[in-house]
Symmetry: C2
Subunit: 342 residues, 2 copies
Amino acid sequence: MPQTFTRIAVLGLGLIGGSVLQALTRGGYPVTGFDPDPAESGAARGAGYDLARTPAEAVAEADLVVLAMPLPQLGESLAAIAPTVRPGTIVTDVGTLKVPVLAGVRSTLPGARFVGGHPLAGTEQSGFLASDPMLFRDAPWALALEDDTDLEAWLALAVLWCDLGAKPVPTTAEEQDAAIARVIGLPHVLAEALALTGLHGGELGLSLAAGSYMSGSRVARTRPDLVATWCDGNPALVAALDDAIAWLQSSRDSLAAGRSIMPLARAGHRARIEWEHRAFAPVDLPADAATLREHGRCGGWITAVLEPNGPTRAPLRLLGMRPIQAGALDDVFATGAAVGGV
Amino acid sequence: MPQTFTRIAVLGLGLIGGSVLQALTRGGYPVTGFDPDPAESGAARGAGYDLARTPAEAVAEADLVVLAMPLPQLGESLAAIAPTVRPGTIVTDVGTLKVPVLAGVRSTLPGARFVGGHPLAGTEQSGFLASDPMLFRDAPWALALEDDTDLEAWLALAVLWCDLGAKPVPTTAEEQDAAIARVIGLPHVLAEALALTGLHGGELGLSLAAGSYMSGSRVARTRPDLVATWCDGNPALVAALDDAIAWLQSSRDSLAAGRSIMPLARAGHRARIEWEHRAFAPVDLPADAATLREHGRCGGWITAVLEPNGPTRAPLRLLGMRPIQAGALDDVFATGAAVGGV
């Protein structure tokens, strides 16, 4: 069975870090938090959490370190804990992009066993006061399994995040960043563009804006510097924007020529509805990196890591779920190409 | 005081028409409904509503006719009721675009007093079963006051929709369609583009899609033919798309060059937050078409039509609300222009 943890340090107590702190505490894990921002640490202390005074103090006894600070503070935080983190300590993070973090941790904490992570949870709120121990329930949690990732460390984190109700998704830093470009980066960029240009028609429009403007621009409420850390430096977002702009431009040209928005509306509707109706089936997986990565690539996730039973010393197994109709949307995209969209 | 109604006909009992039928019935108004679709009329009858068997029967005794059928059925419906609608009957509609309806009614029902209307209410659901008598509470309701609109008819409708909890916004067909392009058409087109291209990256992305994808593509759940009636034939939507595409293209180019999404994120965030924080002050308005239109143009709406009090035969007055900081977003748009967005 993968190791359990005797001391977990959570560095950064904003929305995600604060929620991890709360969820792990409720789960009975021994957790120590730290945040350099007096507003966040004050809020956490006010909620009854006992915090470390320095990042080094937080990680001194830890066998798991969760990096939950904003990406721009990552380098400084790693430097602060590097002398104190014990060799072999498992280190993970919760940031949106995995490639930039991977490089930083490898060079600063070469003795640690690093596993990049990204819980797909959050709201347009930020800060400890918005955090919620139930935030991760049913949330996908990308967990990077590179060629040089310690499989035991990966499995220990899979167990831990399953325990918080999340759904660990085995992937690699590069594959998750490419996927995230379309389902996190693109929605944010489109929401910002709508928030701005939707209102650029005068006061009458501001008063008529209702449901569709409201939901379409909801995530423009997110702090702009956070949006930037989720978008900047991800080459896959450029390709995703090219795709979206091609559709918008061809639809704009159709409307200008007196034709209908129907090709885009029909394809978009079908994509959204088919996505909502995806169905899944349980699978039983060996604890093998290549198999697990392929499982994630096909849209699957982990639901449990099974403890070997009895004296047989049977190899470790994982339970998971995978889509039963992978590729159901392929013909929607083919239709898109046919009408000149993508 | 504007006239009250002795018989109201509601033609079309989908989400909006069904909600009007229910809300007016609860408000104690004498209402007759009709829908040619057995699914909708069956659902309405099942909910206890007594319906007419033909549109002509529904409007025969009516002094107000509410046209609530989908835009493509409008011509046929107008032809069906034209011989039966009595001269002077007030006719209104609830469609999204006002210019196409105005032309159709003027030619088919020249003896009626037509006032184009558009409640800014709805969900991504459709049909009578999704209708809700509370749908219009606090919803803006554009009410077109053209140069040749009968002011008494306009006021009578303003009273009626205020009574359902809505906020009548005086405008013209052309001005409302221009405003709607940005706050209804554009959000739908962007949601369709996101629904489609957001998922175009493989199964891993489908499983990682979460909150921002979900809210950004919510209105792609709307029936595509309805989206088309809200978008097609509105020249202002082409300009709105040009605006949005310009922002997306300049942001895409920034990202490709290793720069940040910050200019767009900052402007979009500020637009959304300032929009949420708009503040309003009460105003007292004369029942004068030009004044009312200017009130709507400045972002104002009507809250009540006051009955002249006592024997003075004082002129009719309206109460309304208007933004107290109109133009607060002007410098956000100026910033946009400066960074090459719009």
